[in-house]
């Protein structure tokens, strides 16, 4: 499924300065694999040695935090939007 992925500033060096890229995937974890294929090095920034998303990386599927869905197993469909967002505070 062709989806758009929004890339945060710290990772844009790896995506040739693009803030939005397109990949084909059917799950979030497939999306990460596809990103790694097109933009090598990106996976190790957002995943730890076990391949799990680092605890400070937030991933949203169509504005919903994947932790409220099926995490890395969350299915994706055509036209979906995935955002990778670093943790931020506030008050």
């Amino acid at each position: 499924m062709a989806i758009t992925v929004r890339i945060p500033t710290p990772l844009q060096k790896l995506t040739r300065d693009q803030s939005e890229v397109s990949v084909v995937a059917t799950t979030i974890s497939g999306c990460i694999q596809a990103l790694e294929q097109d933009y090598p090095g990106i996976k190790e920034r957002i995943c730890d040695e076990q391949g799990n998303l680092r605890r400070f990386v937030n991933v949203f599927l169509n504005e919903e935090d994947i932790r409220f869905l099926k995490k890395e197993q969350t299915p994706i469909k055509d036209g979906d939007e995935v955002s990778i967002v670093p943790a931020i505070a506030g008050g």
Binding site: R6, P8, T9, P10, L11, K13, S19, R45, I46, R54, R55, F56, V57, N58, F60, E63, D65, R67, F68, S83, V85, P86, A87, I88, A89, G90, G91
Partner: protein, 419 residues
Amino acid sequence: MGYVKGLKCRECARIYPVEAIYVCEYCFGSLEVDYDYDQLKKVVTKKRIESGPASLWRYRDLLPINGEPTVGFYSGFTPLVKANRLAEELGVREIYIKDDSSCHPTLSFKDRVVAVALSKAKEFGFDTVACASTGNLANAVAAHGAWAGLKRYIFIPHDLERAKVIGTLVYSPNLIMVRGNYDDVNRLCSEVAAKYHWGFVNINIRPYYAEGSKTYGYEIAEQLGWRTPDHLVCPAASGSLLTKIWKAFKEFHKLGLIDSVKTSLHCAQPAGCSPISDAILSKSESIRPVKPKTIAKSLAIGNPADGYYARDAVQQSGGTAGIASDQEIVEGIQLLARTEGIFTETAGGVTMAVTKKLIEQGKIRKDQSVVIAITGNGLKTQEAIQSTLTSALEIAPQLKSFEERVLKNTNAGAGLPRP
């Protein structure tokens, strides 16, 4: 002059320069200000601090600015109230209220962090500042930003309390109400921050902003006579304040200003949004984000960015956590008002309620000293207690009316319902 060495990633320890950045490029950990403590040990003494201004800037050596402060000259240095009537009611020997409900100018501890953030934003050359807020930060950025002559874009969830909205608009910023919860606002703001060159106090200025919270802890130690309390109960939204109070105590110890850090830190959260307290109480490895549903809107952050660090601070200090229901929050506000004459907002009600619980559970012993961290003023969250207040007595303007309606029917302080 400043004593900042640089920024450092809290996860992987990579070093970064002093710039308006907040996240590690390698592991997405948050960046923290790193100080030259060897130099600071030579410079910072009790005498130096005691001769400083009656504001948070008395601790400026430990704050991340290079030149003179330019914002928040009257912020911080709030009262540490010895709460004798509250202590008697709860059966505890020594309770203090650190009362930021009176912080200048916008009546919450956010005046501290914003004083630092905007001083730093000006050093970086920003002419526009911004924030995502649950209310108190909005008030502080709007006010301090007006004072500093900065353009301001302030983002809030659409359902904030009226006083917080008025208390932001009055300073004439650009106030943007987002149709979502705070976490939605925050996520949007991270995208806005990436695109526009603004000083977002809780995003690209965050490492500097967060340091302002240390002053809350420094003041407690100084006001107690250069010592730390046995217990400190602190509310947690993102978890940043709690983390920085711990850092403050540890820094004072490192610099030889206090003999030891013996405080047990306890995390207080509301029942409808307690991801950090839940993780502490269940001893869970991970913190699970929630969708907040609570009257304590200033604590309604479902995905707390400093959650892990707050949990670590609590565990290192040997503390625990508590959770307060909406009803307990309201009772907490009223208890503090009735015994000590301090009117705090819902976040303060949470902290008061959890303190009471921890005493009842024996986690805080009766012979130990306790500081309750009050962070904001009750006038900002009036909706929460309106319906539970007794009403005033209404009489005609005659002595007879007074004597019949008031003196005959009341005992000390109790109100009557309307006829």
